[in-house]
Each structure stands twice: as C-alpha cells, then as structure tokens.
Symmetry: C3
Subunit: 158 residues, 3 copies
C-alpha cells in the first residue's frame, strides 16, 4: 500500500515540522506546504459537533507566509519556546486528490524565558501529504486540539 | 531478527491502538486482540514487588467484549476524551509462545468537555504480538502504570 | 543517504536509551556510548546565548562509569521512577567525524514512590551516532533542556 521509503519520508516530514516550529524557523516551516494548501486549527469539540469555526484558517501558502511575516513584525506575544512530541503516525490510505491521508498525535510543551515549562496543547493532526519532486509536503493540515481551553493566547502555529 | 515489514506493522498496530481508544472506537479496539488474549493494568509498584493484583484483568477476548458493552451501557464515568502518545517501541525478541515480545512507552492525556486538559497516565506497555493472516494482533498486553495514584477513577482502557 | 536498516537501528538505540534509564539499568545505559564520548546536559537558554556552562558534563566513558557508581553508592536523591517518551528522531546528515548527526525530542515524566506523577523535563537530544561492529552507539549526546528551571535536583541522567 505504501512503500517503506514513502513511509519513512512522511515520518521525516513530521520531524521537520516539529523542529522548524520549535526552532523558530517559521520560513522553513512554510516550505513544508505546497502552494495550494490548507492549514487550520480546530477545537475538538467543533469537530464532534460538525461546526466549521476555526481558531486559525489559512487557505493557501500565501496566507501562511503572511502569518509568518506578521509573527515576525508584530511580535507582541509573550516570549516562549515550544517543544513538539509527535507520534502515532498513521497512514490511513490514499487521499481523495492523490497523496496520502495521514494522522498523527502531538503533545506540545512550552517554556517561558525563566525556564518554567508546562504542557500547552495536545491533539491530533489530520493531514494530506503529497509527494512532489523534492519529497513529501503537506497539502492539508488540520490541527484538532483536545484541550482547546488553552490558558494562553494562540500565537505561533501548533 | 525481525523484518522491516513486521516492524512497521507493529508500529501501525500501536498507532491503531491509540487511535481507536482516543476515538471511542472500543469495538474496533477489541479487534486488535486475538481470542485467547490477556489484557491487564498493573501499578508499577506491584510489578516491582512482584504482587499479582491488577487494576483491570481480562483473561480472554470475551472479557474485553463484556467490558466494552459495560462501558457503552453503564456509561456512568465522567465525560472525557483521551489522547495517547506511544513511542519507544522496542522489539525485544521472540515471545515464549511465538510472535514477538514488544514494549512501548505511553503518555495519555485527558480533556474534559470544557476543553481543560491534563496528563492522566504514563507508563509502559509490555506486550506479546502475533501475526495472523490479516496482520499483527495483541496476544498479551500489560499496561504498567507509573503514576498509579491517578486522581480520577479508571474507566476506559489505557 | 541513510539505509533503512541504519535508520531503524538508530530508533532502537533511542528506545534502549529510554528503557535502560527508566529501568534503572545504568550500567547498560553506559554501554550505549563509545569510549571516546561526550555526554552533557545544557539549559536551552545557554545554547541560545552560546554559554558553555553545563549542568552535567562527562567527557569520556569513564566519567559516565564514575557517575553511575556514584549514583549507586551515594544514593541520596529522592526515590523516583522515570519514563522517557522520545520522538521526532531526525537524521540530520553525516557527522563531522563520521557517523550521523541525529536529533530527537524527549519528554520525561517522574513518579514518586506513592505513585504521584508529573512532567519532569522536556527538550531535545543533539547527538552523534556511530556504527561499530555491534550496532550504533552514541559518540556525543547533548541534552538541551527547555524547562531548565526544574523543581527537583538533577540526579539521574536524562
């Protein structure tokens, strides 16, 4: 169904995804998406109730670029560092428009600039991954947040 | 010792295990076990002291089915959603009765219906996995809970 | 760039790393390093500021052995059990002195002897892995701790 090479390349994609966000490499993070992409963050409750409201919605790569520029220039959020643990990567099968439907679970921890850390967010990525010439990229990424009542404002991507 | 295909299939088994529990797909979760299976949850302290008392003990698949029916019908536990992060999958070698002895670590987070989340349980799965016609299944799964003093009652499986 | 076999063997190395520490198998843990190794623990802040101060620094395997003996004999730290979740393993490429540059994220939970558990540390391993006759070993492991303001004293390795 999926070759070992494709599968391990998808694992790599998730590892890069976490590393770029955790390392504040937002511009590299954007490059993990194809041009015609969708990125959104949804509370799990909204998914259960089939409500369409997103916490964040970017409907193409330019919107991701805009968001990155905005984070760089209007840097008003509290300083923190992130750490993503991504596991349970599941290749669910071929996606409707080609590529693979893939899910993975994540836990994301944050530390402030005094080194105090805590669990920030956990949930599931529901994604579509396509293989282009230079490896896999995200065509769609939906972050479904279990603990959507997050005590801090959402600023950087999850 | 173990083929790449078997190894990745075992990774998939753990990913399905987490996804079925997290998605409240208990009936699918039961199907990850063979008929002649054992599922139990033990406090880590009991393992260290070699005490046999389990928090949960199901000695065959029918007991797992009963438990699922009971959870569906006598649904008295507080509403919550689970999220499993399973990693550090270790193929320890051939199991005594065929198949593989496999361990993995887990952290499980819970959120209530207002979106408040926290760490619920962490520990190690000590398992036996066998390959049948349609892929790997659990013959034995022992959940060894490090934080056995869990502040909520144990209801759904870990 | 890296064979499937080498890559899976590196995954195994990290799984053993966690299992030996979590299982208090410190002597086995030492054997995951080559003789001419470096093991250190750094606060993430120090890395950002390019400060060289380590929380722990062992500059060869004998120093790791000494540390293990010291932990066994001068066992004054509070009793606890650890659980490592290691994920996002990234093969970054060939290391300067041969082998592979590898990164991975970790979260480490602790439980006390009454079964109360909590998040203890999270961060990133920045490592060099070499393949000797009997499989991969660590030549260098730098533990970069995001939540370096840890409420307990650092005793056992991370």
């Amino acid at each position: 169904m999926i070759s070992v090479e494709h599968r391990l390349a998808i694992d790599d994609l998730f590892a890069d995804y976490g590393a770029y966000l955790d390392g504040d490499r937002l511009e590299d993070w954007v490059e993990l998406f194809v041009e015609d992409c969708v990125y959104k963050i949804l509370p799990r409750e909204n998914v259960s109730l089939d409500l369409p409201v997103s916490l964040i919605l970017c409907e193409n790569k330019n919107m991701l670029r805009d968001r990155t520029v905005s984070l760089r220039q209007a840097n008003e959020y509290s300083v923190h560092t992130d750490k993503h643990l991504i596991s349970n990567v599941r290749i669910k099968g071929p996606a409707a428009a080609g590529g693979y439907a893939v899910e993975a679970n994540y836990a994301m921890y944050q530390a402030d600039n005094e080194g105090n850390g805590s669990l920030y967010s956990f949930g599931t990525y529901v994604d579509e991954v396509v293989f282009a010439g230079d490896g896999p990229k995200f065509r769609a990424k939906t972050v479904i947040v279990d603990n959507w009542s997050i005590p801090h404002m959402l600023s950087t991507p999850i």
